[in-house]
Symmetry: C2
């Protein structure tokens, strides 16, 4: 109950906000495990060291909690390719590094991927999720286009496919890989690698590849 004591009377202060973030990070684990529909403040408390009362003190309701979870999720995902994008390398090295990273992210980070698939599907039924989903979408969309642009730049050429279709094609590929991986398909990761390499060829065709 120490947490409550240090923040009581300071509901909008930085400590209160810090505790919310800490709880949201813990809640992400529950969200990844149970999915949006079955996640509740009670379930979050049950899966954490905190009481239902404490969780409820920091979050007015499920929507409030989900928004904070999405903010944590954004923070976890936003720099997923930042090191690869920043490092100087050849187009070929860059492409290999991206394929490696996306494979790693599916095989070790699939619970986070499924949070995203879950939230965006639920937002088709529940308009309250719309802004949170839009903010995540923008991040993934921007990251995809940064990767495409950087690869084209390193290869000294221009992308043949625009950002919207580049995103949709990559998204379809990764979602299929996550689904296969979760269902125990041992071909999921090899197929993802092949698919990602093909997408690079399609989106940024190089003369020596054609």
């Amino acid at each position: 109950m120490d947490i409550v004591a240090t923040t009581k009377g300071d509901r909008r202060g930085p400590k209160f906000q810090a505790r919310r973030q800490q709880l949201a990070q813990a809640a992400l684990v529950t969200l990844a495990e149970l999915g949006y529909a079955r996640t509740s403040l009670r379930e979050i408390a049950h899966n954490s060291e905190f009481s239902h009362g404490v969780v409820h003190y920091y979050f007015s309701d499920k929507a409030d909690l989900i928004t904070e979870c999405v903010a944590s999720f954004r923070e976890l995902s936003t720099d997923a390719y930042a090191d690869i994008l920043a490092e100087p390398m050849t187009a070929e090295q860059f492409r290999a590094a991206v394929v490696e990273r996306v494979s790693e992210r599916v095989s070790t980070g699939w619970p986070y991927h499924r949070i995203w698939y879950d939230l965006r599907t639920q937002s088709m039924f529940d308009d309250a999720l719309r802004d949170d989903v839009q903010s995540l979408f923008s991040m993934f969309y921007d990251t995809t286009w940064k990767i495409v642009s950087r690869y084209a730049e390193l290869a000294g050429t221009k992308p043949a496919v625009g950002p919207e279709l580049s995103y949709s094609m990559s998204d379809g590929l990764v979602q299929r890989a996550v689904s296969r991986y979760i269902h125990g398909d041992t071909e999921a990761i090899p197929a993802l690698r092949r698919g990602a390499n093909s997408l690079f060829d399609i989106i940024v065709p190089l003369n020596d590849h054609s």
Copy 2:
């Protein structure tokens, strides 16, 4: 209670099965409206002319109902492109007809699309849905490849992209369009048309298009 009277004592008979199908078709509407997580036998009864008892007579539990709903859904979707695939036409006419059909299916059939996105995401959390989702996946996968193969055949060429990636790319495109459409984006359908045409060019490149 007429329904119960005519089938009592004949639980595995054709009449019993016919009533199950009839109820499953009604249940699809609830599933499309509320999503998997919020759909229950009680909710189905509430949205139909039948009592909870009648629904429960025909379905042992939610899993049983969902399986029958998926069967109805399969039946509704399996022939979605059959007429276009069967008709003799030029490659160009075929492509235009497919783009028209997929646009129509998003703008008028988006509730059914979202059932599919919902079920496949929920199957990432609940293994009980796996076989139903796999059967729907196979259908969509096969339909995509039939369309690609037929277009290539009419154009007198071969696809440049295999079935797995063709499916993933189309899936990403259509899911994005459904999401935009549901959220009231008036550019959803024009973007889908442009994207579908680009995908045809990518998957089956024609000499006179390059």
